[in-house]
């Protein structure tokens, strides 16, 4: 379980006069479930890339349990992310031609950390996301099923934080809702901190806290209780 503290973060891209993301001070407690919303181009994905160390910026600090990942080398950030972050993306990034369980295990295998116990866990995770055929090829799965495999992959190494960027946006209503619900349950049972970028109101309503971005800045930051009014 990880806590996040972002300080003085500013992200700019060459060719753009204004920074696409500016966060002076943001804290997310360990185990907190946070929704991130905002219009298209408001900087949500940029935020995700920064806090997961997928991208880096020259200015600002990103502390996870006190460790500033913005100061890590690229290789060290990769290793840190592999160990602590479970990622779920809008378009799955699963590998065709491999089975569900092989997809779940692929990053761990490439990192040479997949042992017997982890293989067993992969099977357990697949059955707990509701997939009964771990050896089914990804190519033959529905989109909802694919996202379930992606969720199992994200949780394999018991990450301190699960980060999802629009996990239900490419799914139809029913399966999107099921996947959103599943993501929450799985993160909760793993005790992971959860950050979900989403426009899905039912999913957002289920989370503890809601950050709204506009033009790269945090416009509102509301807790579940406050929203009721």
């Amino acid at each position: 379980m990880l806590s996040l503290s972002v300080e003085n973060l500013s992200v700019s891209f060459p060719g753009l006069d204004a920074p696409v993301l500016v966060i002076d001070d943001l804290k997310i407690a360990a185990g907190e479930h946070v929704a991130v919303t905002g219009g298209s181009g408001s900087g949500k994905s940029t935020f995700i890339n920064m806090v997961t160390g997928l991208d880096r910026t020259a200015s600002g600090n990103i502390f996870w349990n006190g460790q500033d990942i913005a100061r890590l080398s690229e290789g060290a950030r990769d290793r840190w992310r592999a160990e602590h972050v479970g990622l779920v993306m809008q378009d799955f990034h699963l590998f065709q031609g491999l089975s569900a369980v092989d997809n779940v295990l692929l990053p761990a295998r490439l990192s040479r950390v997949a042992d017997r116990a982890m293989t067993d866990r992969a099977h357990e995770l697949l059955s707990s996301v509701g997939l009964s055929r771990p050896n089914q090829k990804i190519d033959t799965m529905s989109r909802g099923e694919m996202q379930r495999v992606a969720i199992a992959r994200a949780l394999l190494r018991r990450p301190g934080v699960v980060v999802a960027d629009e996990p239900t946006a490419s799914l139809d209503g029913a399966s999107g809702e099921a996947v959103g619900k599943l993501l929450l349950e799985m993160a909760a049972s793993a005790g992971s901190t959860l950050i979900v970028v989403s426009h899905d109101q039912t999913l957002i309503d289920r989370l503890d806290r809601r950050l709204t971005l506009a033009a790269g800045r945090i416009k509102t930051d509301t807790k579940a209780g406050e929203r009721a009014q």
Binding site: S45, N49, T52, L54, D55, E74, G75, D78, R79, R81, A82, E83, L87, M89, D91, H93, F95, Q96, G97, L98, D102, L106, P107, A108, R109, L110, S111, R153, R157
Partner: protein
């Protein structure tokens, strides 16, 4: 990792097959040209191996070699018969043997020669024995006729509208072991018989001449009247009676006296073979000479390059022929290189599109926790595997193609072409693999360096 790479290649198998085949074809092209060229050089050199020195009448050195060593049918000027006697008596000569050609049977050239030449240039018989009588013939290893078969010689070749010599029949007495030379496709008969067929050189056995005992009618052969002149012209080359008369002269002669040129001789099948040729022997297209020493060879060549004779070392003639053909080889190699460059360009295109797609996907692996090095390795191994497979396949296809061509060539010419890989090929194979390994590293490096955020963005 291996499983992932294989699954990945399988997933885009159509593209992978295109890459593999492109590489294979480009490689095969170069390999075939190289193998074939080398085999031709080696094969013809081996065919000329037993032919130390060839003496003929002045004319084209190349044609003398092509006709005597490679039995290529062509009119040759004739060297006077006494040259053979002179050579046979020369102390620098181990043996000298005449070669007379021009007739054919069933598509095989008939070569008139002596037992000395046969036993000195071959390794013996697979069946039967040497000819002992004028009416006997022996077969090269590749002649598809049985022992005891009847051979009715024909002027020139069937293709050029040759005509059977009426009443002339040889019986096959033996078959030689393979030599890998055009002589494997030859039917060898006593030279004396060839002369007699053409009404020459009867001096030795006048008086014993019998009535033709074997009158096999030639009714089963087509007479192609139109082509007959050509047949006569070729025919004239080896039977021109006068010393020093050129083929061209004989050809004219043949046309003028076309009618009485047919069947003016026959053989005495049971006559013993006389191989001591006197100074009155008829003209000959070529004489094969085995000098006693290398020094003798050079001296003999010197001595017989003037005064109505031409002496050549076939090996040397071939070498100069290759240097002329070197230009042709250069053109061939340039064509091969050009098409290889085209294939390489196509390959780069395929690779670039492949990598653009793969980079995103493979790069995304990093986002999910795969180490950078494995991302590099996957991208590299995928490409290298396909290209390496293509190269291996290319070498096999190239070898197979060269073998096919060589076999077809052997079937036609009798020259066995030794198509095989050498150390040089192994080196170029390894060189290609190294180049492939380096080239495959370029896109892999791009995948390695790509930021995972960029890889995820779609």
């Amino acid at each position: 990792m291996i499983r992932f790479i294989l699954a990945d290649i399988k997933r885009m198998w159509a593209g992978a097959i295109v890459v593999v085949l492109l590489v294979a074809l480009a490689t095969a092209l170069g390999v075939t040209v190289t193998l074939q060229e080398r085999a031709l050089r080696l094969g013809s050199a081996r065919a000329a191996d037993k032919f130390d020195l060839v003496v003929g009448a002045p004319g084209s050195e190349t044609q003398l070699v092509l006709s005597s060593v490679f039995l290529q049918a062509a009119p040759l000027p004739l060297v006077s018969g006494d040259v053979l006697a002179k050579l046979a008596a020369d102390p620098r000569v181990a043996w000298a043997a005449p070669i007379g050609f021009g007739d054919s049977f069933a598509g095989y050239p008939l070569v008139g020669t002596t037992r000395a030449l046969i036993s000195n240039t071959t390794t013996g018989f697979t069946e039967g024995r040497m000819f002992e009588k004028e009416g006997e013939a022996i077969l090269g290893a590749a002649v598809n006729l049985p022992l005891g078969a009847e051979i009715k010689p024909m002027h020139g070749t069937a293709a050029s509208g040759g005509e059977t010599h009426a009443g002339v029949v040889y019986h096959v007495a033996g078959r030689l072991k393979p030599t890998g030379t055009p002589w494997d496709r030859a039917i060898l008969v006593p030279l004396q018989a060839v002369w007699h067929v053409h009404g020459l050189g009867h001096a030795h056995e006048e008086g014993e001449h019998e009535e033709a005992g074997h009158d096999h009618a030639d009714g089963d052969h087509d007479h192609d009247g139109e082509a007959q002149h050509a047949g006569e012209a070729a025919h004239a080359a080896e039977v021109a009676p006068a010393t020093g008369e050129t083929a061209a002269n004989s050809a004219t002669h043949a046309e003028e006296h076309h009618d009485d040129h047919d069947h003016h001789g026959t053989i005495d099948a049971d006559a013993p073979i006389m191989e001591d040729y006197g100074t009155d022997a008829p003209g000959l297209p070529a004489i094969l000479v085995k000098p006693k020493t290398i020094a003798d060879a050079y001296r003999l060549r010197q001595a017989y390059r003037t005064g109505g004779t031409l002496a050549v070392f076939p090996g040397e003639v071939l070498t100069s022929l290759y240097s002329t053909l070197g230009d042709a080889k250069f053109v061939l190699s340039a064509v091969a290189a050009g098409s290889q460059a085209l294939v390489a360009a196509a390959l780069v295109l395929v690779t670039v599109t492949h990598v653009a797609q793969r980079r995103r996907q493979i790069g995304a692996l990093r986002a999910f926790g795969a180490p950078r090095l494995s991302v590099f390795t996957i991208a590299w191994a995928e490409l290298f595997l396909m290209v390496a497979l293509g190269i291996c396949l290319g070498f096999l296809i190239g070898l197979a193609a060269a073998r096919l061509i060589a076999d077809a060539f052997t079937g036609q010419s009798g020259i066995v072409l030794p198509v095989e890989f050498t150390g040089q090929d192994v080196r170029s194979f390894l060189g290609l693999l190294i180049v492939a390994a380096i080239l495959a590293a370029v896109p892999a490096l791009l995948a390695y360096r790509q930021s995972p955020a960029k890889a995820l963005r779609s």
